[in-house]
Symmetry: C2
Subunit: 462 residues, 2 copies
């Protein structure tokens, strides 16, 4: 592939092209290393929209696969290149272009790291809610491409709710401006939200216009200790129905709090089977009022303890530990596969019961933590050993989790996306006619099929 | 067209097909009667998704144009049939299928009248914010198809923010379930939001899954009298930047309040050149606090008067009059063309100044009321006479309004959609490459081009 390297070096600056074996190795998968499929032939780190356009136009003419990549922190294999070709690492395009308080919008390059953006807007008293737990590394372009969520989704919604427009490069090299900086728009097809969640299969997002908000001035964290996970799940349904929605409403199993305690100071109580961890935000008077309401609901439903944490530093250790739950789980299990099923919120209790029963039947350790306030559950298969038998059991469990979610009117992914991990279940969720429609939409954007091939649906047809 | 009538009567119940000339006449346009183009050959009022599928499948085989229609209250000619064929009037499909408090969602048929849905959810202490001013007649299917907004958009966003999923019939008769009842989803392309705003050109929406909220318990209406329209526009930008966002934040010209006074009791003061009309909602303590903040901002910026209306019946007359502004304008002008340009919110003052100057130069009466809190302005051309010269001037003014909005980073439609009215300006907003992309997307859904032909973009290419 010396020709490829030479060609690319003419399109972008020479040090933006990587073809050394160790570089290519680092780009062969996202955080789901177990999906590693085929090393790319080259990695390009473009510095501008024009460079992205030049690379795509070249790849399109030469029918070379292109896999766009943010931070590679995905959990579905979305940026794992399965047919080699070019990986387009967007991290050099990392400028915050504008923060406009008078319009309450910001414009950012696709490669801006979410955590950096949070810090910048928060230093100005502003707020951008989406908070996938990989926020210290993940990029906003990746967030848009996967419709990323996070704990604050329960009150504030996920990334697509904040995307007003994108700049994107189509496979033929054309640059389009979809949507824009206006908070309302009805101008033809919503290309912005079609690109959101397309996982790099339609084009490359190079910029995003985002809605921002005033930063809520006051917060309190509350920890509810529950005697059983069903009890915790029932409290969630009751909280949603009562309408006092916290900014975050996480369901944690006892074992999760146990591993999180290595980061929580002073440690949380460990006598519950499950916990609700909440962040309540707003004006001080509103937060205090909401905290009382939530406390009353949980106590009425038999909570063992409801603790409102007044010390902000202590509260922060809870949220830092929560954001680290996936890496923490990896310290106690040989392998962790995090599921991402979402169910209607009133169905969380029955979902929890059925998954627990299934785990018991299969003799598997399945964590059941998740952003349960919006019905988004992350059942995690924790492997004691990695061997063929365990993999077989895990696959059985995943299929069963997915089926259980769908039977309850749920969906196979809330915020991780489909990538490779979920493509075999896509038809269960959407039906054949909708997948055929998606394939035709894909063709409308990418007639040569160069964009992130092998993703979303099972291969064979496109 | 006797054959058509006979064929259709075999697909749906006989009384669901209308072909009498007076019936067809009533379906030849939406509320923009001046776009009336060509009477349909038949009107069908389907009673079920299956009937919609049967009609589409038949029309697709026989290449007969199909124009879906909600209440026909649109202001862009979106459901005006330009090539005859079948108009599909969805109003018989009007069941509210589910209101689920535990999940905070509702499922409705496309033909449910928005005002009826408001009443139903509000009677249960629930809230569905979108409020296009035609809400007593318009249908939720029509709202979704045009991404309809309304005054509450400033705080709560527009229809697409509340649509979690749709059932839709594709032109080939296949029924798809896009999205669903979950508040988070990342499962392939967002077909739900591609259908939202597609104005009936991709398929027929038959059901919608909607997010609902708890009903805010307390409201206050405030009227701010301003010495000039620029002063009013500047206050809006300041209110947005301060972050205390009312549920509604309307800009009204003196002349608008003058005509609205026939419905406001007791009448509003008429000594301002412009007014801000606000609704502030939330808990009582929050509303009182916000009202003080907003009052202070407006007073600091030189408001002539800030009046918080304590009497709820009196307040209601303001909002009823506001919702009637378009028909009220028709009592004082021979013809009214309502524009729908949206600009970034910090650009509202300069937009207002430029449109006023342009109206002065052309000697035209241009109303400048609108949902200015979200940058969505409805400059209205008020015709003293309807004649060729006036039409020419009006066309010039509309083009100028659109250009002014775009030059400020705005967009040609905030909530009315493109239909026929804006198709000539679409390329100014989106550029040629994006329109070509939209045409390919259209083909992916509707290869025979039967769905609402002649809309969105200028014809010739599809």
């Amino acid at each position: 592939m010396r020709g490829l390297q030479k060609d690319l070096a003419e399109l972008v600056s020479r040090d933006s092209v990587k073809t050394d074996p160790e570089d290519l190795f680092a780009y062969q998968s996202d955080a789901t290393h177990y999906f590693a499929k085929r090393k790319p032939d080259a990695v390009v780190l473009p510095a501008s929209t024009e460079e992205v356009a030049a690379v795509l136009s070249y790849a399109n003419k030469n029918q070379i696969p292109v896999t766009p990549r943010g931070a590679g922190s995905g959990l579905s294999g979305g940026c794992t290149p399965v047919k080699g070709g070019i990986v387009l690492d967007m991290k050099r395009m990392n400028k915050i272009r504008e923060i406009n308080r008078g319009n309450m919008t910001a414009t950012v390059d696709a490669g801006v790291v979410l955590g950096d953006f949070h810090k910048t807007v928060e230093s100005q008293g502003l707020f951008y809610p989406p908070d996938p737990q990989s926020m210290t590394v993940c990029t906003i372009g990746g967030n848009v491409a996967t419709r990323a969520g996070g704990p604050r989704g329960v009150k504030y919604g996920t990334t697509p709710h904040y995307v007003l427009g994108v700049e994107a490069v189509l496979p033929d090299g054309y640059v389009i401006q979809a949507g824009g900086k206006c908070v309302k728009q009805s101008v033809g097809y919503d290309i912005t939200h079609l690109l959101a969640g397309s996982e790099g299969t339609l084009g490359v997002i190079t910029k995003a216009h985002l809605r921002i908000m005033p930063l809520p001035p006051f917060h309190r964290t509350a920890l509810v200790t529950c005697k059983s996970i069903e009890n915790a799940a029932e409290m969630i349904a009751e909280i949603i129905a009562a309408g006092t929605v916290p900014a975050m409403l996480e369901l944690l199993m006892g074992i999760s709090v146990h591993v999180m305690n290595s980061m929580i100071s002073p440690p949380a109580p460990t006598d519950g089977e499950a916990y609700l961890l909440m962040d309540i935000d707003g004006s001080e008077s509103q937060v205090r009022e909401d905290a009382e309401t939530l406390k009353a609901i949980c106590n009425d439903m038999g909570a063992m303890e409801v603790r409102v944490i007044e010390d902000e530093k202590e509260a922060a250790t809870y949220w830092k530990a929560r954001a680290s739950l996936y890496p923490l789980a990896l310290t106690m299990a040989k392998k962790v596969v995090a599921e991402d099923v979402t169910v209607p919120r009133d169905k969380v209790p029955v979902f929890v019961r059925e998954v627990q029963a299934m785990a018991g039947r299969l003799g598997l350790l399945v964590g059941l933590s998740g952003h349960a306030g919006d019905g988004n559950m992350h059942p995690s298969i924790l492997y004691g050993e990695v061997n063929e038998e365990q993999e077989k059991l895990a696959r059985k469990a995943i299929a069963q989790i997915v089926k259980t979610g769908l039977a309850l009117g749920g969906t196979i992914s809330g915020e991780h996306g489909i990538g490779l991990h979920k493509s075999e279940y896509l038809e269960w969720d959407l039906g054949g006619a909708q997948i055929e429609l998606m394939k035709r939409v894909k063709k409308a954007f990418d007639p040569n099929g160069i964009m992130n091939p092998g993703k979303l649906w099972l291969q064979g047809g496109e």
